[in-house]
Symmetry: C2
Subunit: 223 residues, 2 copies
């Protein structure tokens, strides 16, 4: 059984990409689930070691490994955020991503992180998802956008998640693929992921036009 | 109308407490919602400026303000994690929390952060929640534990949330209390919080004994 082989794996290297003006929850949602898998090591990777500030600048997150370091992560997570735009033409970052993808078990994204995967050529002709406000951008970069919350192409080792919080759902699925269902369920229990949002406004359809208008007014990404 | 007064408020100061071995998602879930509220400024507060590492050490988060700095935050968020234990007898941290609470609109916690609120004397005789593994610890500190996901005492300006991911649900409720329902719903839409976990294992009752046993074996907090 594939599962039993994976459970006994002693090392699981997970790389999470960081950049200035990243959306914190895009990165931290998957991190929180994946870091707890048996044998997991999570490393935050970016242009240079040290602090980057999140989208509105309120929080500093640390990069511990650079795109120049030799790594062969089993899993790559690319988050989104306003800063993701700068990576679309960043050949160092895109080159790192293409290189890492050659040997990953899963190359993944959350929110506008999928635009970066697309810019690296990893989503050509594939269905993929992103934040609901950015589905058209994804199409322009050669992917086939869908509004599903998690889109997986296991044969291509690519998994994309929709906006911000969807990375938690994606990571639970990755946990199952990387270990086994009971371990993945234990991750859900440990993080007490028993969602009880006080409203039903998590998608444009559920939220309705007034809330969509307010969201656009506030802006996903404050420039 | 209370709501219209709050919407026009130009400044909303939010303080999130950090400490070594904090659980990242406890802090980042509420941060991600609250940072986007109109007029919001989020500051990460701790013993000294600079980096602290999260529970397993994989991620550095930056403290930008110390417990010695003069502040009067409107909202305080106290996250949990293995490092929360050290704060239970930390008079500098507890003193800061008591002082801040005098003028907050809401003093809140996620996961074992409620143990810190209890240690500061803020939960005496009040119902409150925490991670499902720590309900007994909360009772020992003078609170009345409940397993509800979010417990609010608006007259006391205290809101506690259960384990790790529950801070997202709490923050959406806080968003409503701080602004108005449409703005809070816009936060849910912006973060695309339309949860679709692949399993139903987010509470001990739903998870069942095998998953609870695996969760305990893996451990919420790796020592």
């Amino acid at each position: 059984m594939l599962e039993s082989v994976q459970v006994t794996k002693t090392s699981l290297q997970i790389a999470v990409v960081l950049f200035p003006r990243v959306t914190a929850l895009d990165a931290i949602g998957p991190y929180e689930i994946l870091q707890r898998l048996p044998g997991a090591t999570v490393t935050f990777v970016g242009h240079q070691r040290g602090e980057v500030r999140t989208d509105n600048g309120f929080l500093g997150l640390s990069i511990d490994q650079t795109f120049e370091d030799e790594v062969a992560p089993d899993v790559v997570v690319v988050p989104g955020g306003i800063g993701s735009r700068a990576l679309l033409e960043d050949e160092v970052a895109l080159g790192w991503l293409r290189g890492a993808h050659r040997t990953t078990r899963f190359t993944t994204s959350v929110c506008t992180g999928s635009l970066i995967l697309a810019a690296a050529g990893l989503l050509d002709g594939l269905t993929a998802t992103t934040h609901w406000e950015n589905l058209d951008d994804l199409a322009k970069l050669g992917a086939v956008p869908t509004s599903d919350r998690v889109v997986e192409h296991l044969d291509r080792r690519i998994v994309t998640a929709a906006g911000v919080s969807s990375g938690i759902d994606m990571a639970l699925r990755l946990a199952e693929l990387l270990t086994d269902r009971v371990t993945a369920q234990a991750m859900q229990l440990i993080t007490e992921y028993d969602p009880q949002p006080p409203f039903d406004a998590g998608s444009p359809a559920a939220a309705g036009p007034e809330v969509v208008a307010r969201a656009r007014e506030i802006g996903l990404l404050k420039d």
